[in-house]
Amino acid sequence: MSSPTIKGQQASRPELVNRSIAIGYIGLMVVLPILAISTQAVGEGLSRLWQDLIQPEALFSLRLTFLMALIMVILNSITGTATAWVMVRYRFPGQSLINALIDLPFAIPTIVTGLMLVILYGPQSSIGTFLTAHGVEVIYAKPGIVLALLFVTFPFVVRAVQPVLMEMDRDMEEAAITLGAKRWRVFFRVVLPSILPAILTGAAQAFSRALGEFGSVVMVAGNIPMKTQVAPVFIYGEIESYNARGALGVSMVLLASSFVILLLLNIMQNWGRRHDV
């Protein structure tokens, strides 16, 4: 491309103005708040931050958050891949409607999600009564957290895998079948390797979302320290009780995790792009 704006030459004045506005906006809205909270966190020294972080409630909430997110991500990778497969490879009545509804968890406010799950599985509902009678607690317990996380992150893996499956050449699969390979073998040897980057991308997005999820989890899990209190709920509780210091340590861990996952996602995307060509 011989465009003067892309190659060489100095940027024109309007371009510089736009660039300054763009950088200024991100600086003010994203960088400055992160700098402010980070400065506050390390303001009284790193050892103080560490002390805040190793409080039993804080540590527990972080461990619980990562564990719940991990369980969710494993389940979602499997169901998400299966859903994407069914949507791309099969034809069935009502398919386009279901395909559109897959995005519903992204559109519905998280507090509404939480409320729906509480009334569906809570002690007053028929399902809740049935489950309690059989010794299964969902609401105000860990299965409820996983359920809420599964709901809010459902579209990630599906939407990451779908386009890759759609574009995939089926020649290889057919060749493998012609050569006598079993179907599951074809899936694991031919299909899975080519959609794995997409699955991982969706899983990483889902995991990142799950670490920070608040609205649905606070409704479903309640706010029971050392039992169902996940990290974002812990932070909220500390802020509510005017204990900003307590909230800072866990906030910094969540922020750092977001950074790392974002970085991994970028690396993964570049890697996928290089292998596409």
Binding site: I37, E167, R183, S258
Partner: protein, 300 residues
């Protein structure tokens, strides 16, 4: 890829095609039950996980009929909450559309040092927990905060007031317009703009006549996503607002409050309204999707 094609199509012996066809047909036949099983499992899982809870909220909100449903929405607190949500959403959408467009233009059409970094920063609000997002704004705009101190002197309260809630909402919905418009701009290239400029069109004319029409569906999709996120934001707004009844409650905070006060009808009614609006936005997204290429730029 070429090699395999050649192998299966050009180079194979004459006896093979029928054998291949047969095994393929067999593959399809013995796949029927496996197919049905997988399809059934996926549909049941989706129904149980997503559709069942959504159905439940419809039933519960309307379980006592339409009148209690409407009455619960007509209370001053509910009406105030929905108005506030509407205003915050409008402001957030306007600001993020304006700056989002500029960001998209800069990221898609310019090259400069640190662009990759800027690009990464745009995604950050999606990765940050809403609670942490709200907390960041409390720290920045609180009484002792870098900017809060300054506003304090001017007698303007940001945190625990509507301006803080607007800022938090803008933050969490910031990436959508940028993310949807950038790929469309990249695909369009710069040829048409350059042609228009060469023919003597001004920058404004080029933007309104060439750039905007070619990105309009991507932009529409981004705006819809921004709207959905702004309407439904809870965690960040809760932290920033301090949840003062009546004065600083949005619709999502109102639902939370009503539920905690055991006013279940109020919580259900407001939830159903928000769910219905989300559903409407989803339909709009589906309609818009059809116009944006093959819909693949949208799913990321």
């Amino acid at each position: 890829m070429m090699f395999e094609k050649a192998m299966t199509e050009g180079l194979r012996p004459k006896s093979l095609p029928s054998a291949a066809g047969q095994s393929l047909r067999m593959f399809k036949q013995d796949g029927v039950w496996g197919k049905r099983l997988l399809l059934g499992a996926v549909l049941i899982w989706f129904g149980f996980l997503v559709l069942l809870p959504v159905g439940e909220i419809v039933l519960d909100a309307l379980s006592d009929g339409v009148i209690p449903f409407l009455t619960a929405l007509h209370t001053p607190a509910a009406r105030h909450a929905f108005w506030l949500t509407l205003w915050i959403t409008i402001v957030s959408v306007l600001i993020n559309t304006f700056f989002g467009l500029i960001l998209a233009l800069v990221l898609a059409q310019q090259k400069f040092r640190g662009k990759t970094f800027l690009n990464g920063l745009v995604d950050l609000p999606l990765a940050v927990s809403p609670v942490v997002a709200g907390f960041m704004f409390i720290v920045l705009f609180g009484q002792q905060g870098w900017l809060g101190r300054w506003f304090e002197q001017g007698g303007i309260q940001i945190v625990f007031a509507v301006p803080g809630m607007v800022l938090a909402t803008i933050f969490v919905s910031l990436p959508f317009v940028v993310r949807e418009v950038v790929p469309v701009l990249m695909e369009c290239g710069l040829e048409q703009e350059e042609a228009a400029r060469t023919l003597g069109a001004s920058r404004w004319q080029t933007f309104w006549r060439i750039t905007l029409p070619s990105i309009r569906w991507g932009l529409a999709y981004g705006v819809t996503l921004t709207t959905a996120r702004s309407l439904g934001e809870f965690g960040a707004v809760l932290v920033v607002s301090g949840s003062i009844i009546g004065r600083t409650q949005t619709a999502t905070l109102h639902i939370h409050q009503e539920f905690n006060d055991f006013h279940f009808q109020g919580a259900f009614s407001a939830s159903l309204v928000l769910a219905a609006v989300s559903f409407l936005l989803l339909i709009i997204m589906e309609l818009v999707k059809k116009h944006v290429g093959n819909g693949q730029t949208l799913v990321r």
